[in-house]
Amino acid sequence: MRLPCPHCGSRPADEFTCYGAADPVRPAAGAPAQVWHDYVHIRPNPYGLHNELWQHVHGCRRWLVMTRDTRTHAVLGARDGGSRGGGAA
């Protein structure tokens, strides 16, 4: 398995670590408990395309957003996580 890094090119999957879903947006600190519960615990878990955070730990160490098909493991795109905005994962 190889993964595309926008900085380093196609690299072995061993160099990366997967954090998980990239789409959930961190709520404001004072948001209601239900909103925080949704953010922390509820997952879309899609059958198909999934945006997720990976870190190129043994490479450039940048956080990346990859779009991956959970049915086939095919990676359709990867971009630097810095453009994601919205605070911490």
């Binding site: 398995m1 072995p12 999957a13 061993d14 670590t17 997967c18 998980g20 879903a21 408990a33 239900q34 519960h37 949704d38 922390v40 615990h41 509820i42 997952r43 879309p44 878990n45 899609p46 059958y47 999934h50 997720e52 991956r68 959970t70 049915r71 086939t72 493991h73």
Partner: protein
């Protein structure tokens, strides 16, 4: 049809009689039923958990007008993709009472089902390498004994006597001892599926295969039935036992679940003569191994670590598992791996399962089995049947509520938090 339901009991006498007449009298073990339009209860998912639920609904609660709906054929998901271990060596009370219930059901299962599930209590040994791991073993073992469950702490000499061919000179992960549950062991995965299917069928349950649920009929917050590829089926109680597909099926009913689907791999070597008579987990990395009755060494390790519905994993974890295995037991290197497979695990945010009602009246959820679904099958079915029949959880599954994440009552055995790829 009814002739099959009255099929003979399996026994030594029946075997002898059939041997004398060329095995011409064995009927099918269960009916491949066509769905009727209405039942008292429906189970979605014909794996071990779904079939066990149907069986205990009929046996314990007298609900026999029940159908199990399976998208393909029964036992084709994780029931056929596991490593067949049974054990009840958990730390947290909410888990330990449940898995011990399961162990007790395993111990009487074959007589109860009149089916040889090949339950083999060969002992499950968790090795430890350092003081921290030993302390954790002592604590967990003491917790088990407080629940009336057997646990023994073994020192190095005792482990060596059981498994002389481990690598005891491993400098990085030295084997120092282990925690043994003698009542743990293995069972035969297919036989568990077939045994529950046959026993449920004999009590009147319809097992409907090639019947995919495509939607739910919900009126005024109450479930009325399901839409399927074989037409609508009506029922006031619908139980979901969909394992790795729980999020997909739940979504059809509008449920948003604290679950991610991940792939877990397992491996089996070529068959060799009996040489490994228990179940052992290694202390340096995640690795566990046993030998099947056919002779293959069956082993596995950790999740691949990313969301997947693919039922296959990647070489990175293959290498990881092999390295751990070689570190524990170098003779593995002389064996060839015959087969390798991946199952889709319904990973929850605390690593523990869910057996509960849902916000939709009459819709019940059995999901989130993470990597521990096989051993749970009997108690899962027993508790889910109780929950469906009585509209409330039994004490034994009372920690497995769906709302525990919202109220902070999580059951996090490993302490990894809401990171399902770490559990």
């Amino acid at each position: 049809m009814s002739g099959v339901r009255a099929a003979m009991n399996y026994s030594g006498l029946a075997l002898l009689r059939e041997a004398l007449r060329g095995h011409s009298g064995w009927g099918p073990a269960w009916r491949d039923a066509a769905p009727r339009t209405e039942y008292d209860a429906l189970i979605v998912g014909g794996g071990g958990h779904g079939l066990a639920t149907a069986y205990y609904l009929a046996k314990e609660h007298g609900l026999t007008n029940v159908a199990v709906l399976e998208r393909t054929h029964i036992g084709s998901g994780n029931a056929g993709r596991n490593t067949t271990l049974i054990r009840s060596n958990y730390l947290l009370p909410g888990n330990e009472r449940f898995f011990e219930k399961s162990m007790q059901l395993w111990e009487g299962l074959e007589q109860d089902l009149n089916y040889n599930a090949m339950v083999s209590q060969r002992g499950v040994l968790n090795l430890y390498s350092d003081d921290g791991q030993r302390d954790a073993c002592v604590r967990r073992g003491n917790t088990m004994r407080l629940h009336g469950v057997d646990a023994e702490l073994l020192d190095l000499a005792q482990v060596k006597a059981m498994y002389p061919y481990f690598d005891y000179r491993n400098e990085r992960f030295p084997i120092r001892g282990g925690l043994l549950q003698r009542r743990g062991g293995t069972a035969r995965h297919d036989a568990v599926v077939w045994g529950f299917a046959r026993a449920a069928d004999r009590r009147g349950v319809d097992i409907v295969q090639n019947c995919e649920v495509t939607g739910f009929r919900i009126e005024g917050g109450e479930v009325r039935g399901v839409e399927t590829t074989r037409g609508p089926i009506f029922a006031r109680k619908v139980g979901l036992c969909c394992a790795g597909s729980s999020s997909r099926v739940g979504e059809l009913a509008g449920l948003r679940l604290p679950i991610e689907s991940h792939v877990l791999q397992a491996f089996v070597t070529e068959a060799v003569k009996p040489m490994f008579d228990g179940v052992v987990t290694f202390s340096g990395g995640t690795f566990y191994i046993s030998q099947s009755d056919k002779g293959g060494l069956v082993f596995g390790g950790i999740l691949d670590g990313y969301n997947s519905y693919a039922q296959r994993g990647n070489l990175r974890v293959v290498e990881d598992v092999m390295e751990a295995g070689m570190a524990m037991m170098p003779l593995l290197g002389r064996l060839r791996v015959l087969r390798q497979w991946g199952g889709v695990m319904d990973m929850t945010m605390d690593g523990s399962p869910i057996i509960d009602l849902t916000p939709i009246r009459g819709l019940y959820l059995n999901a989130g089995w993470c990597t521990t679904g096989f051993k749970a099958i009997p108690a899962s079915g027993w508790c889910f049947a109780h929950t469906m029949a009585r509209d409330e959880p039994h004490f034994i599954n009372s920690a497995y509520r769906l709302d525990r994440f919202a109220v902070g009552a999580v059951l996090d055995e490993s302490g990894h938090g809401a990171h399902p790829n770490r559990h």
